[in-house]
Amino acid sequence: MSAPKPDEPPVLTAHRAGLVGCRGCGRVWPAGTEFCGRCGAHVYQPDRHSLQAVWAWWLAGLIFYIPANLLPMLKTQTLGGLAGNSEATIFGGVIELLHYGNYGVAAIIFVASIIVPIGKFLVIAWLATVAGRPASVEAAHTRLRALEAVEYIGRWSMIDVFVVAILSALVQLGFVATIHPGPAAASFALSVAFTMLSAQSFDPRLIWRGLPLRTRRDRTAE
């Protein structure tokens, strides 16, 4: 634990005061308390060990993100297969929309299904890597803003799954045209859910300095 630097206002944290704060409702309890007496949430000290959960969910999300991009998202059959059967992946769907001139919608899907998930993986990995290391106040604010952005924007990746569900339910015109969901829909939904859990398990209190820094061995063992 380092002494406050001149650029850091003297802030006493619950951890330094020998107390533990509840992340659910803000109530403060003596160190060693297990559950918050007010909201019932599990209370714990900010600790780099909690990053293991972040990495586990992160990896699960990444694993499911691969089939989500390789397998088809939508299976379209037009005129009983005479006019062609097509299987579109996420990226293929964006290209198709561009082809038909729907630039706005193509941009929405491209951002929600490709930019946001990849950005989320990068940001969470970065946050979990630098968590608990000393940071300037500016750096800590940047990290907190990044985490808030990931938490806020992460759910919106689910758009593509909903689009697939609506299309599959709606476009059941027998001989004329039918659309069925592909396996990528499930993989993508799981990937989004896992990255949401990863972002939620990240303890933002680790961003701020003055935390027990682990040894190099612990850090590599993540």
Partner: protein, 241 residues
């Protein structure tokens, strides 16, 4: 019971820790319209609003009514070359009901119907008894905690954006008409956003505590004289003000 401004560094009574950065603050009863922010990270710690509980209850009931409409009215309808198909909200969720995509159906129903409805019910359950000066319902604390946990997983507003994207995709393939359920869902989004603006979880926790849901003797009360001025009738004995 602790007077406003007093705190104990040994037990943590009378203190608040910012959930984002762990900075300690001395707990204080806020007046309506005031905003408390964390001194370090700037997170809003509390923002009580006048009549917020009544408004949240009203908005939650509204969203339940709209949800019933959204479930039972037709959602979308398409037609092409004499072939037509209509779907309801359940039809959309059941789109994944073939084979091994089945679990996704359950998740979809939860995201777009179950969780938003459950959250609205929980908020009504927690806040309805506390609109005036009444004591909280049994297990109101657990109910509110569940509602807060489910917040990121209720995705009704994302579903509406997804619908608009799907409409554009289908537009080239067939003629689409929007059913009443679609408009009910749009209304649901507006109501949900308004409810989120009014919801201040710190105020709700604090009120739950002050009204006697938790009797660990750590609740902070405002200056008794100020309480006497704002209250219409004196609090019964044995209950923290």
């Amino acid at each position: 019971m602790i007077e406003a401004g007093q705190f104990d560094l040994e037990t943590g009574a009378g203190l608040m820790a910012c959930p984002r950065c762990d900075a300690l603050h001395v707990e204080d009863e806020l007046a309506e319209g005031e905003t408390a922010r964390c001194i370090r990270c700037g997170k809003v710690l509390g923002r009580p609003r006048a009549g917020a509980f009544t408004q949240i209850v009203a908005l939650s009931v509204t969203s339940l009514v709209l949800m019933v409409a959204a479930i039972f009215f037709p959602f979308l309808e398409i037609s092409r070359m004499g072939f037509g198909n209509a779907t309801s909200l359940f039809g959309v969720a059941l789109a994944f009901s073939h084979g091994w995509l089945m679990p996704l159906t359950v998740a979809m129903l939860g995201f777009i119907v179950g969780l938003p409805a459950l959250r609205a019910l929980l908020l009504v359950y927690v806040l309805w008894p506390m609109r005036g000066d009444g004591p909280p319902a049994r297990h109101a604390g657990e109910a509110f905690r569940l509602s807060e946990l489910l917040r990121p997983w209720s995705m009704a507003e994302i579903f509406v954006i997804g619908t608009s994207v799907a409409l554009v995709k289908v537009a080239g393939l067939a003629t689409v008409s929007l059913g009443p359920a679609f408009w009910a869902f749009c209304g649901l989004i507006v109501v949900g956003a308004a409810s989120n603006v009014f919801t201040c979880s710190t105020t709700i926790w604090d009120t739950l505590e002050d009204r006697g849901a938790f009797t660990d003797g750590r609740e902070v009360v405002a200056d008794p004289q100020a309480v006497a001025q704002t209250r219409h009738r004196p609090a019964p004995d044995g209950r923290a003000g």
